[in-house]
Amino acid sequence: MSVAWQFYAITLLVYFGVNLMAGWAINFQYGVAGILNFGFIIFQSIGAYVASVTTLGASQPGGYQQYILGATLPWPLSIVAAGIAGGLLAIVVGSFALRPIGRAFQGIVLLIVAVIASDLVSTEFGWFDGTNGLAAIPKPLQGALGLGLVSYGWFYVGLTAVFCVVTYFVIRRCSTGPYGRKLRALRENARSASALGVNVRKETMVVFVVGGVIAAISGAVLVQFLGAWAPSTWMPSETFLYIAAIVVGGVDNMAGVALGVAILYTGILEGVQYFPSIGVGNLVGAVQWMAIGILVALFLWFRPQGMVPQRRRRLSTRVRTVRGSRANVVGVRERDDKNVLT
């Protein structure tokens, strides 16, 4: 493989890993617990910013970029700082956005928060250098490892994979067993769940924070690969790409989300890059959004459960009577059960 192709593959894989982490996180919030987080992108973004400023060193007065919290934390600590920032932001935003139980209300409030955050960060040049954004963000361990550019790229792919595995492990544990069941009950009917002793606000907040921390870490992993971050990379509309990925792949199914991320980000967003540049200037961008919009509409209409639906958890341990056992023998089962990957 030529160097150019290797770089391309490395970029695709790191992006896939980062989007997978984010996709799983938003799926944990929305797919499992029913929190419609239209402001998801700000959590990824704060992780990216914090990971940047905590490795860039102190901001120089009169320097080419101005920012707060300048520091030079060693590598894993910058990621930890990003995660903590994501968690804290989730607590602050969640304290007012999650207050009423109404899901639509939560979604709208979170979207508004994302729009305000985007505007504020764009105009406050003292925070993260406004619309210019931050650049020259150091790559973790690059000096210590002494690898060439391509080898370092593959190392970073491995690093991203490790983060994906940890994310998978955490979310998988949280969404199976009694805890996952409780969160799904909350998603299905918060009022009934609270009448059975579930503290809806507390549980929603925990999920919101867990999702926020993972989103922030995904942002940190991405920014340390890219080396730059600006408001144009985290438009509030980016959240809808993640939601589109889980709608297409399968809400509340981790394998489905992986498939959705692969199709949307690696398939469609990359695929349309190869469109010939004819007609209007921003044809590629327009086609990307159109393709995604149409795909989501088609899925919501024809296959709302997504490509890989929620897994039905069969807990029953007792021998069934005729009805159940016959169904098992003949294989009369609903279609969605055959598509189980997880």
């Binding site: 949280c174 009694p178 299905e188 009917n189 009448a195 002793g197 007792r318």
Partner: protein, 266 residues
């Protein structure tokens, strides 16, 4: 026997009250849904809460369960003031409410619906879940047995692994009653538990509720089907237009002119 504006202390209470509702008021906009309701529920009894549509029965249940909070008045349960406690805290004290409209967890299986209601599960917190299956699997096994026993009792075993959304209306009501049993209640607030449950199954549920009462669970049952109230309840509270218009034994209340008027004019 005319008993309008009954006070808690006027009730025939052989045992000390388990639940005491005192002078409860609640309005929604211009509608006074509950206007000075007081009654007391002794332990180990089934109290029928009856009255025509719009009498305020469901609102009283919501006020007791913490889903709504009273503008005025108090609710004491098992010695504690729960007037302004949120629903999950009321539930944790062992007071469980079921709803008039089905409120199953649709995309959870029947068995999961039951399992979800068990209080204090080891694996039901974030940190418990993070510790992995080994931490909670024994606990889960015990609960699973209990849940499957309950399903057998209510003839829902065949549907154990079906999504609750696939059940019929009557089956959903039974599921909800079974689910509330999993919550280990000291007291149940049953809002029209028999709506949509037909014939023999209704008898099963009825017998089960009476058996539960004998095992020590106290109940308030709002029900339109007065024959059920006749058979099950130890005494009744009759409401109309947000007020308690009579309390006492069903056979006495039937003779009460105010009750007859309320039912005829409603």
């Amino acid at each position: 026997m005319h008993m309008s504006m009954v006070n808690a202390d006027q009730l025939p209470a052989a045992e000390p009250a388990f639940l005491t509702v005192t002078d409860l008021w609640r309005s929604f906009g211009g509608v006074q849904a509950v206007a000075g309701v007081s009654f007391a529920v002794p332990q180990h009894q089934i109290i029928g809460l009856i009255g025509p549509n719009g009498a305020g029965k469901s609102t009283v249940m919501n006020l007791i369960a913490g889903i709504e909070h009273p503008d005025r008045g108090s609710v004491f349960f098992d010695g504690a003031d729960i007037s302004h406690a949120p629903p999950h805290q009321v539930a944790k004290r062992g007071l469980i409410r079921t709803f008039q409209i089905s409120s199953e967890f649709a995309r959870l299986t029947v068995l999961e619906n039951l399992m979800m209601a068990v209080p204090h599960q080891r694996g039901a917190t974030f940190w418990g879940a993070m510790r992995g299956r080994r931490f909670w699997s024994e606990d889960e096994k015990v609960n699973l047995e209990r849940a499957q026993d309950l399903l057998e009792r209510f003839h829902l075993s065949d549907l154990a692994d079906d999504y609750a959304s696939d059940l019929s209306g009557g089956q959903k009501r039974i599921l909800e009653i079974a689910r509330s049993m999993m919550a280990e209640p000291k007291m149940l607030l049953l809002d029209e538990p028999f709506a949509g449950i037909a014939g023999p199954l209704a008898r099963t549920v009825e017998e089960y509720l009476m058996a539960l009462r004998d095992e020590g669970v106290t109940m308030i049952m709002a029900e339109h089907e007065l024959s059920v109230i006749d058979r099950c309840s130890d005494s009744v509270v009759v409401m109309a237009l947000g007020k308690v218009i009579a309390t006492g034994r069903m056979e006495d209340v039937r003779q009460n002119q105010e009750v007859i008027d309320a039912y005829l004019t409603a």
